[in-house]
């Protein structure tokens, strides 16, 4: 038979080694967000002389810090394949709980610890529904988020609760080396997120679980533990954002976080992460956060009415989803 000869030759020498390349459209979409950010910056700096001033850039930094911290958590969970939308409720419950506990005479540190425990419980509850009861993450975190928001309103008795001693949280409004503290915290979160995802074994497993959970499981990766971990990271970052809001406003308001839903999801989806899991990075989410922040800031500078801003936010979200749909269509060959 000819078989033996073929076998001995090994790989046929004639065939040129086909080098797999990433999809060109994919690469265009990959750089698209950087171009979009650049275009926005250029347009706004031409349209408003105030846009590219240090003061205004710090305003943007201050404004996006909260969105950014939340978006980092959502990104990490989404890379593992879980869409966590309970962050708004965690902000509300954090602010209200700390206000109530300090109002009852507890030291600020203890009150914050209480909020951290509450945040952990939210993350774990999300995990129980998603991992153990096998309910989709968007439904689970919507349900938990709704219930937790309700709890925040009950706890606050529907009121805005002022901090008895706002000075305990005034560090939030301090500037270090000229930079607002929330901005520094956000930067630290992003550096930590980048290290976690790009450099650690846990990060590699987060990508693996999100990319193909059954393959990860068969490779001996503790899939359930990874899900719990990302959900707890996400809710913990929401607690952090809640403390920052509390410091900035000096009061616990159960309606906090409600407005963050679309800016955060918009920023995350703009990064091109997709809802499938296994892809994305906090660096790209960071660019998404900046786009949303620059857009909001620029529109204010141009004197655009806030209703239009909401319209623009919605349009950006639609754009992000459409880009993702194009990408997914091209991937499913």
């Amino acid at each position: 038979m000819t078989a033996t000869t073929v076998a001995q030759q090994g790989t046929p020498p004639t065939s040129p080694p086909p080098k797999p390349k990433s999809d060109p459209i994919d690469r265009i979409l990959d750089v698209g967000i950087y171009i979009a950010l650049g275009v926005l910056v250029i347009v706004f700096s031409i349209a408003s002389p105030y846009f590219l001033t240090v003061g205004n850039l710090l305003n943007i930094g201050q404004a996006v810090a909260q969105t950014g911290i939340l978006a980092a958590g959502v990104t990490i969970a989404l890379i593992a394949g879980q869409l966590d939308i309970s962050f708004g409720s965690v902000i509300a419950v954090t602010a209200v709980l700390v206000a109530v506990l300090t109002g009852a005479g507890l030291p600020a540190a203890v009150a914050v610890l209480g909020a951290v425990v509450a945040g952990l419980l939210v993350g774990i509850l999300n995990g129980v529904l998603i991992v153990n009861l096998n309910i989709s993450s968007i439904i689970s975190t919507l349900a938990v988020g709704t219930a937790v928001t309700g709890a925040a309103y009950l706890l606050a008795n529907g009121q805005v609760i002022p901090l008895p001693d706002p000075a305990a949280f005034s560090w939030v409004n301090v500037r270090v080396f000229g930079l607002p503290v929330p901005m520094l915290i956000a930067i630290a979160v992003y550096v930590a997120g980048w290290v976690l995802l790009a450099k650690t074994k846990l990060g590699a497993h987060i990508y693996a679980v999100g990319g193909n959970s059954s393959a990860a499981l068969r490779a001996g990766i503790p899939v359930k533990r990874i899900y719990y971990t990302v959900l707890v990271i996400s809710s913990s970052l929401a607690v952090l954002a809640g403390v920052i809001v509390l410091g900035r406003t000096g009061a616990g308001d159960p309606s906090y976080g409600a407005a963050d839903m679309f800016t955060v999801l918009g920023a995350v989806l703009l990064s091109g992460i997709g809802l499938g899991g296994g892809t994305g990075s906090v660096q790209r989410t960071f660019v998404g956060v900046l786009i949303i922040g620059v857009l909001a800031n620029g529109l204010v500078l141009l004197g655009v009415q806030s209703y239009y801003q909401q319209l623009v936010n919605g349009a950006v979200l639609v754009l992000a989803v459409v880009m993702e749909a194009i990408r997914r269509k091209r991937r499913s060959r």
Partner: protein
């Protein structure tokens, strides 16, 4: 130059009198065969002949009702796929179990990454991946930077096979490896099976396409209605005889 590669040494895997039933359906009846290191065995049979059941028993997904599995002479009891893996049996399923969004190095060392403390030792993972790929004459595949999801079906199959080498498997079972591939890609997968064989592994290829495996297997094991209809060396059989075994079983052959 006819090479009869079936070594005369001790078998790597020895299966004796395996039976398995699901309720009153007898899926396998008294199946026995051996496979030696450095051998490619094609497991053939029509749909429902028991190929999948046999493979699932060997990879630890099902427990056999009767009979014995030995690896290097040591009796094995597989309670889970992890047990089979620990005994040196790796199965490449049709779904390949790859993380499409990650590169080759991440897939080859999935769950067994080289680390420095909590950190991934990326350099080492990539270097080891290159070594494994080159050892299998797959040096043209990029070890890092390209997601396996954008690779061709044959390349993905190759990555999945290379991973079994990383896991230290001695017996590699390939479940219909060419089912979704074209002719030239199929040939490359078969070449890969030979690379594995030449490195001393034993390979079982499951197929219902005799044409594709005819040139590449050292022996053919044919299942028919849950029984082993026959085992033939390629040098001692014909396509016609194997087809006969597949279609009619041992009785008519």
């Amino acid at each position: 130059m006819t090479i009869d590669r079936v070594p005369t040494g001790a078998p790597l895997l020895s299966v004796q009198g395996i039976s398995k039933s699901f309720g009153h359906i007898q899926a396998l009846t008294d199946v026995s065969f051996d496979i030696a290191p450095g051998e490619v065995l094609a497991l053939l049979g029509d749909n429902g002949a028991g190929k999948s059941t046999l493979i699932k028993i060997l990879s630890g997904l099902y427990a056999n009702d009767t009979g014995e599995i030995r690896m290097r002479g040591i009796p094995q009891r597989f309670h889970s796929p992890a047990d089979a893996k620990a005994a040196g049996i790796a199965t490449v399923y049709q779904d390949l179990a790859l993380v499409d969004t990650r590169d080759v190095a991440a897939n080859l060392f999935l769950g067994r990454e080289y680390t420095k403390g909590p950190f991934i030792d990326v350099k080492r993972n990539v270097a080891e991946s290159r070594r494994v790929l080159e050892g299998l004459k797959l040096g043209h595949l990029p070890a890092s930077g390209v997601a396996v999801g954008v690779m061709s079906g044959g390349q993905r199959q190759a990555v999945a096979v290379a991973r079994t080498v990383v896991s230290g498997a001695e017996l590699i079972i390939m479940d219909e490896p060419t089912a979704a591939l074209g002719v030239s890609e199929s040939a490359k997968v078969m070449d890969l099976a030979h690379e594995l064989r030449d490195s001393g592994c034993a390979v079982i290829i499951i197929s219902h396409n005799l044409q594709q495996v005819w040139d590449f297997a050292d022996r053919f094991a044919v299942l028919h209605l849950g029984r082993l209809a026959g085992i033939r060396r390629r040098s001692e059989t014909t396509v016609e005889e194997i087809v006969q075994l597949i279609v009619y079983g041992a009785g008519e052959a």
